[in-house]
Amino acid sequence: MFGPKLAGLNEVSLVPPTLEHFKLHLVWELQPEVGRFLGPRFGEATPERQEERFKKTGEDQTQIQWTISYQEEPVGYTGIFGIDWVRRDGESGIVVGRHDLFGRGIASEAVRLRTDFAWRELRLHRVHNWIALANRGSRRANEKSGYQQMGVYRKSFFRSGEWYDEWLGEAFPHTFPDPR
């Protein structure tokens, strides 16, 4: 399913995705700057496949997804996936697709909005994720919203002659700092 509009600070908001936003995912994910800590930079990258993904995501009751908007422009996406409604647990993820906007605090605000929604509206018990240990920006964005380390998976993937470890984090309602 798609999440509702959540207005945040510094011109960042989460908005329900549109098909046009989904088509942008391909453009973002296939860039080397974005793909460093992400997937293999190839796939079924066709508009038709994105249309199918858009429809499936909208119908899927085990995930909630948003487009990240910055200054009224789509710049990435985030969500909580694989939600188990009995355990009240899900896996979160975020992609800031516009690498020219890295370092502006967009991910931090998006994660704060998403995590707040998980506790206040979805009544989840726990959210967890995997982040490349070297992706300090993403890790820090999640830590600011209460994610804490639960482990490190060594030598998870290989890029440019180096092994990359992954940081495993988890957050609970009681670890959310809630600045309001």
Binding site: P40, D89, H125, H128, M150, Y153, L168, F172
Partner: protein, 196 residues
Amino acid sequence: MALGGTIRGKATTLRLPVEADLDTYNRWMADMRVRRAHSVWHEPAMPATWKERLKETAKDKMGVLWSIDVAAGLVGLAAGSFWSVTESGFTLRHFLIDPDEWRKGHGFDEALALHRYLFDYLDLKRCGVEIRGDNAAGLRIADRLGYVEYARGHEVHYRDGVYVDEVQLFMTKETWHERWGATEREYAPLAADATR
């Protein structure tokens, strides 16, 4: 690819799952002892639904399902999935022995045979598994095989009115070969003149 073939252990055999197994699968998924120990492969359902699930599993390009036999018949199932075309690994997602057959050594025998297949035959780099923190038997099998813990999720699974932690473990091909390579092989070495 998605319905597994024969892998022989000492007392157990992993083999192709067939429709005749599905009534027993359904019974296991409805057994609270199973549900307490680990998550179910699917919820209990009508026979037609189980047939549909088996058909879907057969089409799954990344997942594999095996039934497990001993001499007396069906005693369990194992299911897992390969990681991706660029990552050589396998996550064991379901590993179930009939509760009436617990504490007979079937679990370790079957796990050893399955990992021999994964490392010695498929030559995978890593295997992963997630086990509930209070599943002592599962954790003991993983430890004997050579798994190491890399993370512990807190309050992950909910049953019997309380949350329980989840232990995340992995095992490497190097560990397999150090610990089991000398004694566990899918095939005997080729004869010296076999390829001449």
